[in-house]
């Protein structure tokens, strides 16, 4: 399958992370970290750190067990929401997921999210998550709507991609959460300094494209994030933070 990116004509708009190469963190990329035991953080969105924000816009960041969960968007409007799946009132007229009565995160409009180790530049792996589509309106769509796309950014700034079709709807017309447990291997098995999760929609010709019309909305739950880091990570982190700050100063000075 093809993944295309939309060419955004408005210069003021933010770009998708892998369209525009982010500020280089090459220094961090060549740091070799000693291998440690897998330490999995399960981001299940039950923590009040998420529900206290409730509605998310571009840049909103929640720190949860060594992971920075950051809402990103093409615009400054509503881009995410923390959903209580057991609340019958939370969706008014959207086509929403039906098989999750716990808390989960919904990326809406032109929003997506990214995760990073709270120590800038430290590598993480996303090993699995649950995901569902969210439609603008209720009702049945008798076709596969699109894919969830995971973009892992390596320390050298390059990206690896993995994608999987959204599940369909159940007999009640509710969208279904599906579990994706092979993300890490689908991404090539390595660690990433930043992992973005977003949605593309299929066109009539079968291409899955990124859109800016508020329609590629999705929900995620139970992100399993491997945050294992070398024992000396603290020293590395300090130096990385310093490098990153210097890099930003250089950029701002341009």
């Amino acid at each position: 399958m093809t993944i295309k990116t939309t060419q955004n004509s408005r210069p003021s708009r933010r770009k998708l992370p892998f369209v525009k190469t982010l500020a280089t963190l090459a220094t961090a990329a060549v740091l070799s970290m000693s291998q440690a035991h897998a330490t999995i953080v399960d981001i299940d969105f039950e923590d009040s750190a998420f529900s206290d924000v409730s509605l998310f816009v571009n840049g909103d960041t929640v720190e949860y067990k060594n992971v920075l969960f950051k809402t990103e968007s093409l615009d400054d409007g509503l881009s995410g929401a923390l959903i209580d799946g057991s609340d019958p009132f939370t969706f008014f007229n959207l086509g929403f997921p039906g098989n999750n009565i716990s808390a989960y995160y919904a990326a809406v409009n032109n929003g997506w999210f990214s995760i990073q180790h709270k120590i800038a530049g430290a590598g993480i792996r996303l090993t699995g998550l649950d995901f569902s589509f969210i439609a603008p309106l209720p009702g049945f769509l008798n076709f596969t709507v699109g894919q969830l796309v995971v973009a892992g950014q390596k320390a050298d700034g390059s990206f690896n991609f993995a994608a999987r079709d959204f599940a369909g709807q159940d007999a009640q017309g509710n969208w279904q959460f599906d579990t994706w447990n092979s993300i890490s291997s689908d991404l090539g098995g390595g660690k990433f300094t930043n992992i973005s999760v977003l949605a593309c929609l299929y066109t009539d010709t079968g291409a899955c494209v990124f859109v800016d019309n508020n329609q590629a909305q999705f929900a995620v739950d139970n992100l399993a994030v491997d945050v294992a880091a070398p024992a000396t990570v603290g020293l590395f982190a300090l130096s990385l933070a310093g490098l990153f700050a210097a890099n930003r100063r250089r950029q701002q000075a341009k």
């Binding site: 409730s54 057991s86 007229n93 959207l94 409009n109």
Partner: protein
Amino acid sequence: MKLSQMSLAVAAVLAASFAAQASEVRRPYVVQLAAAPAASYTGGVAGFAATKPAAGQKLDVDASAVQNYLGYLDQVHSNVLAAVPEVEAIHQFNLVFNGFTAMLTDAEVRALKKNSSVAQIQVDEPHELTTNYTPAFLSLDAADGIWAKAGGQGAAGEDIIIGIIDSGVSPENPAFADRVDANGVPTFDLGATQVFGPAPAKWKGECSPGEGFSLNHCNNKLIGAQFFDATYRSVVAQGLYTPHWSDFQSPRDNGGHGTHTATTAGGNANVMSNVNGVAMGKASGIAPRARIAAYKVCWSYQDPANVLLPRNSCFTGDNVAAIEKAVKDGVDVLNYSISGSQTSVNDAVELAFLGATNAGVFVSASAGNSGPGNAVAHLGPWLTTVGASTHDRFNAGNVILGNGASYEGGSLNGAALAASTFILARDAAKDGANLTNAALCFGSADGVSLLDPLKVAGKVVVCDRGSNVLVNKSQAVKETGGIGIVIGNVQLTNNTITSIDHGIPAVHIDKVSTDAVKAYLAAEPAATLAMSKFAAKKGTVAAPVMAAFSSRGPNRGYPNILKPDLTAPGVEILAGYTPTLNEAQRNEVANGAAAPAAWNFLQGTSMSSPHIAGLGALLKQQYPNWTPAMIKSALMTTGSMTFADAQPGQAAGQLPWAQGAGHVVPNKAAAPGLVYDIQPVDYTRYLCSISLPSIPQSTCNAVGKISDVNLNLPSITLANVLGKTTVTRTVTHVGTGTATYTASSSIPGFSIDVVPSTLTLAPGQSASFTATVTRTSAALNTWAFGSLKWTDGATVVSVPVSAKGTGLAAASALYSENVKGNILYTIGTGFAGAMTSQVGGLKAATVKSLTIGQATPGTIETSAQLATACLSGAKGTVLQTVVAPANTLVLKAATYNAETSGHNMPGGDDIDMVLMNSANTVVATSLRAGSDEEVQLMTPAAGTYKVCLGGYGLASGTQSDFNLSTWAVTTADKGGNFKLVLPGSATIGGSATTAVSWSGLATGKRYMAAIRYIVAGSVQGTTLVRVETNDPLPEVTRVKPVVVAAN
């Protein structure tokens, strides 16, 4: 354990504990279950095949698949009922509606709310007949006249069964005879010629004997007569209602309404009608050869608020039971001249009619008599909803003044009245009487007698039209010794004239004539006035004109669906009636004595609806394979424009909001050329698209969805043209020979592009087209009206097109019951770029504990009367002020049944409410049954408003302690950490997700917030957010019957 299982278990525990409180007051509810009824079931339950009939076919109840599925539904009912062991179902439904009705305590309602098999619970609300309910004790004097039949001849309606869901049937009326005498006149004489064969084979119904009704009262014309009163009897048993002596526990009509609608739709031809024994000429129903099946659902009871007049209501549970039985019995057509919801199709009666339509039954329903206000009822697109208009026959009589001047008006005077002295009612008022009400001739029937017998005796009285019922005026004159009445119109906007039998000489004249009569009296001390005998004539006033009382659109629940659909005669309709019986005579009839046949003139959308039912029967006879939608299409696309009325603005009679697609033209409807058909599955798809909570999602899974604008109705109504909207329609050629139709269309301020613009169709062939409606010069938020026509040169197939351009489409209201939470909702966007907003709230209600007394019965029937009573400090009223500061987004006041001291007493409290501005003008009204009242103003002008409350009917009979909740939410109000986050960008014709969140609310309160959306500097929509943290009970929303038809 999952949460859903846990809540079930909790519900069961709670239900068990509620048994200990069984002495609590029970109220009637409709409990709808989450599975399709048999008429609409398309499969999906393992082991049970689909049961919905194919298009154009009727449901076969005896088929094994149907019986199996009905058995499955019964099992589900049993499981649900087992969880509330104290509850006994009154009715159980599974054919056209899946659910049951029962008397429930508050606790049982809350327990069932949490049961996953329950789709929803609604209050079983009584509905009213949509006509003026004429009191039976009025004596009606002789008159002479004729009402020309508007129906067919010979075999019209042969073997078509019309079901009438109404107040019963008066079986002695020869309109229901199955024999004719030597002159072809219908008769019950057993020696006469039998002209109706046995009931058609499809008929499976029966004749149910009861008080004053025996099996012998049914025959081959009146093939069925049944009654449904289980819900009514349950509320009587609870002490909530007291039956009125005049009714019969049987199919026998009390009040005449059911006999009137039945004889209008399908009464025999050549019936010699009379009013009180005086011949009125021959009358006929629209489909005189049809068979009639009567289903009595409306019952008369004592009105504690007005002991002089019995009330008559029809409970939802009994209505649904009748609909279900009628479908099972095999009727082809149903008439329903009974009130209905003005805001929702999520109502058991409305949904049962969907089941009936799916089963192949054509249903005609009355639009309501709350015009010229925007109050059209019966919003289901499967129904044919009928407005009322005038016809061109006119019963004329003259007022002849002493100076020789003569003014023609409406009259049924059987004899002339010699020159007599006369007086204006205002000048005949008792000392100290309210002169406005005296001028209107208030009398005992209005609960207060304002005319002075010393001034009235021996004179003709001139009474102003308006406010109270016309026959109440004449009764007031008669009871104070007057010898005649002139009813004079005083407003150009209410200037139709009527000819009603008033029991005394009477002429009803228009405003110009009234002014002249008054001027003459003022100038001439020895003024006299005479009246002529009436004569039937073709009216000089153009007809049809929409009746002022006919409820107007637009559709308040589903703005993209046109309602009413069309109009038909509903003013001064002569048809069968019930005789006037005193209590002793009533008892004789109840014991088997024969009652005389009777006729009467009535008006209301109740009278227009059976005209359409009769026409539906004629079309069903002519085209047996037509679906109900094809019949409706034929009636609508061939309608004609009514003549202009005097109503201003959106109430104007010539707009689709009043006349729908137009006035019915029967001869054209019989050859419509093209029809817009709707398969039953499309109704279900439509309901899936509006997310009706009671439609099982498994059904939606099977059928998908169709947006409201694309439902294949013979009307196009677009309330939110976000730049442009494209709709799809399909037409089917029902004429003979291949024909080529060409489209033409126009609507001011918009362009319409029809693709393809020509269609060549063989007989029976269908073709689809699209119509793209693009806003060009029309102002935003303003309706424009036009049409789309297909013609082959001879036949014109016309549908009304109504469109309103908007910048944004957002939900008007959001709701939650959580102390912390959020709501995500989709808005439609008609602009590109960003938007801004103004927000106020959340703000808890200001709750004030108050006490109100019982008002004098009959004094606070209307909003104007209630307002006047409050301002004068009358007994039984309470006046409170509420301030709207600058920048108020919403002002609201509410009372709740559960917060009245009569809530747990039989009957409960009925408190009413109006809201007045600082100039004492009524700006919002809430006259519901019970005390769930609310008045609300969006963006009110700053100032002090008055909330006026009236003790309409209190359980204690003396007083009620209650809470008044008020809100004035301004942009300065912040609370509950309420936050609105808008989408950052929008596209023309696109959508976006918007959200609100809040936290930290207290339990047990009602909060409100308001949002205004601003696009390019102007407000493009509002949303109210209600958060009720008090686990509220379902609200009663029924408006008390409005007596409008003849005032």
